[in-house]
Amino acid sequence: MAGIPAPGGHPGIEVKNLEHSYGDFKAVDGISFSVKEGEIFSFLGPNGAGKSTAINILITLLSLQKGEASVAGFDVTKDPQKVRESIGVVFQDITLDRDMTVWEILEFHGRLYNMSREERKKRIDELLRLVQLEAKKDERTKNLSGGMKRRLEIARGLMTRPKVLFLDEPTLGLDPQTRMRMWDYIKGVNNEGTTIFLTTHYMDEADRLSDRISIIDHGKIIITGTSYGLKNTLGQDLIYLETSDNEAAIRILQGLYSVRDIKSKTKGFVLMVNEDGTKVLPAIIDALRDRRIELSTINLKKPSMDDVFVFYTGKELRDEPEGKTGYLTLRPGGH
């Protein structure tokens, strides 16, 4: 029977060598990953990295061209109906009927997913409270502000308690307070057993929300790991230095036991160190002083997701032009 999960399929998400092209353009270029049941898994990457294409294949809106993919144990090609029964989706752009009221939007969704009347009522009340749209219940969506629309869409995506919930840029355009409430709610849904796959280009979102993160760029997964693990690949601390002779300084510091890697920047360079930076710093300063190299700037910080991203993709995630803010940027005060 079609309802039985394929042998070897597991309740999360399994993707092998997935490829998808639009004409000559390869939007997804051979990605493989696996999301465990009950996990929150993020695709972190800039716009156009292939995140949405990958999601569209997994939610069966795009047919699979090459590779294998299963969701909740069902093959997206062989058993799309079963996949659709197991998932929930929050889309990237606003997909609300302008002429339906807030309540109608949620009611329609609940009916689409065959929820019982009582269940719909209970869930709608609960969600309207969560996204603070109770007062707007009978308002048509065209009269809502952008933020309200987004909140309504998230509420809609959370109406059902699917096995796997897909969130495509869930908090795009929300104010910080609402974002944090959303994160809490998403975690709550996850705690009730829903596996969550989300795409985002917000570092902090990937960082705070997910169990594991894949950094994706140009249709390829560059690295996958836990937030802690990914940051750890950059060492314990990052130390930014500007000196009177950077080249000489780099040569000297390469020899230090605790230095994992060094990246040159326009005016200075960054050391990735395996030990607590505050302990390493005196040794660095001493070593440079001995060779009469003068220090003009020192900055020390913990690696952030931004640093991880910049390190692995070679560019900033924000919409700034490439190269403007440079490589492995360190901002005062951290970010």
Partner: protein
Amino acid sequence: MTYGFATIYWRDMIRFVRFKTLLFSSLLQPALWLAFFGIAMSSSFDRLMAGVPVPPGVHAVGYLTFMAAGIIAMTTLFTSLFGGIVILFDKNWGLMREILASPMNRNHIIFGIALSGVTKSFIQVIIIMAFGILIGAAFFAGFGAMQVVLGVLGILAFVGIFALGFLFLSAGIAVSMESPEGLQGIITLLTMPIFFASNALYPVDSFPEFLKVLSIYNPMTLMINGIRYFAIGPDFLALGKHYVYTTSDIALSFFGLICFAAITFWFAWWRFKKAVVT
């Protein structure tokens, strides 16, 4: 899963009553057709026909009565062909994604839209009939109460199956199109021959052979056969032509419409299966 179409229907009806202007104009427009075109044409035709002798024992009807059936058919045709346009809007505004990613069987989109289209046509048809009778169309003339009820039900059955056929066609085209302008173009292109190569406004007997064959098998003609049978009777004279419908003629017309609806459903189903909406 079984009631997915009811959800689609519910939403489409919300939209139908919500757009007050559209609602009002869609109800008023057929009445206007009947009032202006009907009265103008019937006064000319009835004058022309005044000298034509009516064979004894034959029930002669005025042009208004004759063409009122055509207006019912025309209104149903327009409403049904445009019925699928909501699918195109949903597609272009991303709303279709929510539905396509849901567990609802995709055929239910077609059924739901078709059902709401049929409902709209029923409302319009009842208004036209009432208005037509009001301005002098001799519908159900000399019928007993039971016959009137049967007549109305018969008309609605023909309207329903005809509407389904064109709603399926419209849905199938709409889901394959990119722009509302393109859809509008195709619909306009289809409406013309379907409407004029039919017996809506005149008898088809004096048509050239090729056009006549086309007209006889036109779903529009099949439907109008049914409406006239149930509204006027099996035997009447209009525009100098003696119409006689046997029960099997009418059954055959109905069967023809069922075949038409089946074909267009298959077309819509095939287009929906192929549709990629992201």
